[in-house]
């Protein structure tokens, strides 16, 4: 916990155990705050999607909103992979919506209602899991469709023969880095944004503690900055979800349409 009068910007990332469930080997599986927010995100997403299931020819507002999201991912898959991309739309759509929901929930001012919001995607266990999942799907699809020919991914078109000893190594490294960059990008973006907001919030609290003059002098600019940064973070929440989905679709494209 934070010390009295001090705001620990890292405290928000702590996962709290809510109750124990069962053991796997010597690992305990518990229901945690992180698990709770993931369940809430999944349920909210489900409720949101139900609104789009009226399947009317002339859609209402809610259906338009849902179809906007599905159409966004569908057209992205179509643009990046082509008609064969439709097969993978459910996965990329789930990924995008799940990450987006978790990012946005983490930004909600739920503290006003006495709830501790928690950004699930600020943990690299979660982002890493999703990244490895995406990477595994790329590998499976690649080897399934092209067999060992999939290795030709590491020899791009137009590679001069005298560079054949170097290019595949570079390509291999950049390929293997993909899951890490995928996982770290989201984790770092979420963590950094939330730390930044907590730091500015602590400026306000510390400023007020130092007296009314300092409190106003520091608090007002800090508050103004926080308002701006909150908007920016909402943008980042969307962009990071989009980037995760976009990169997944691009990697899938490598696997589906080899060269």
């Amino acid at each position: 916990m934070a010390d009295q009068g001090k705001v620990d910007p890292m405290h928000q990332f702590e996962v709290q155990k809510m109750f124990d469930m069962f053991h796997v080997g010597n690992h305990e599986v518990a229901f945690t705050t992180s698990a709770m927010w993931m369940v809430i995100a999944g349920l909210l997403l489900w409720v949101f999607m139900i609104g789009g299931m009226k399947r009317q020819l002339v859609p209402g507002r809610w259906q338009v909103a849902v179809e906007g999201f599905t159409g966004f991912i569908s057209s992205m898959m179509n643009a990046n992979i082509g008609p064969e991309g439709r097969k993978y739309t459910p996965y990329v759509f789930s990924l995008f919506m799940f990450i987006l929901m978790l990012n946005v929930i983490g930004l909600m001012p739920l503290g006003l209602f006495g709830v501790h919001p928690f950004t699930v995607t600020s943990h690299f266990t979660i982002t890493g899991f999703l990244a490895i999942l995406s990477f595994s799907i790329v590998l499976i699809v690649g080897f399934w469709r092209h067999g060992l020919h999939f290795f030709s991914l590491f020899v791009p078109h137009g590679t001069p023969w005298w560079l054949l000893w170097l290019i595949p190594v570079i390509e291999l490294v950049s390929f293997l880095v993909r899951p890490f960059s995928l996982a770290l990008r989201l984790f770092v973006a979420m963590t950094a944004g939330h730390v930044l907001m907590k730091v500015f919030a602590s400026f306000i609290i510390d400023g007020i503690a130092a007296g009314p003059a300092v409190g106003l002098g520091v608090g007002i600019p800090s508050m103004a900055l926080m308002v701006g940064i909150s908007g920016l973070e909402l943008l980042v929440a969307g962009i990071q979800a989009y980037v995760f989905a976009l990169l997944t679709s691009l990697y899938l494209n490598d696997a589906v349409n080899l060269h």
Partner: protein
């Protein structure tokens, strides 16, 4: 950083992975595979319907254009036919009138020349009669005045000379 420091705790990673597997699995299977295809099918059906309706409207438009074109051609043709009929009728009427006029003219000319011939004949016979009457009267006048008998032929010649200068 709790993300790293908590990693050491035995429950952390297992709980995180378990729950993300469960919730993302729910999202993927229920939402991604269950609901998304239906929504996409709705969108596709709508797009197809819009495309079909547009195509139908285009076809109807083309058909209407064709119909209008046909109608116009037909009305042009019938107008031309009507005009032709009118001019033909006019021509025929004019020709008939001309023919009839020519015939009437010819008849009139015939009648006129016959009448002129009659008049000429009448005039010559009248002249001849006047000559003989005048010759007789001249013979009688001479006989009464002088008692000389003039031959009819001489009287005639003298009258002719006077009459014709």
């Amino acid at each position: 950083m709790p993300q790293i420091s908590q990693f050491a705790e035995s429950w952390y990673a297992a709980s995180q992975i378990f729950w993300v597997l469960l919730t993302f699995g729910f999202v993927f299977f229920v939402i991604g595979r269950g609901m998304l295809p239906k929504i996409e099918a709705t969108v596709d059906a709508r797009d197809r319907k819009v495309a079909d309706d547009l195509a139908a409207a285009k076809a109807a438009h083309a058909a209407a254009d064709n119909l209008e074109e046909g109608y116009r051609q037909q009305s042009d043709a019938s107008r031309a036919a009507a005009q032709k009929a009118v001019t033909d009728a006019k021509d025929k009427a004019a020709k008939d009138a001309e023919k009839r006029l020519a015939k009437v003219d010819a008849e009139l000319a015939d009648k006129l020349s016959a009448a002129e011939a009659d008049v000429n004949a009448a005039r010559t016979s009248a002249m001849a009669e006047i000559e003989s009457v005048a010759a007789e009267a001249a013979g009688d006048l001479v006989a009464k005045l002088s008692g000389v008998k003039v031959a009819a032929a001489d009287a005639k010649a003298a009258v002719k000379a006077v009459l014709h200068g």
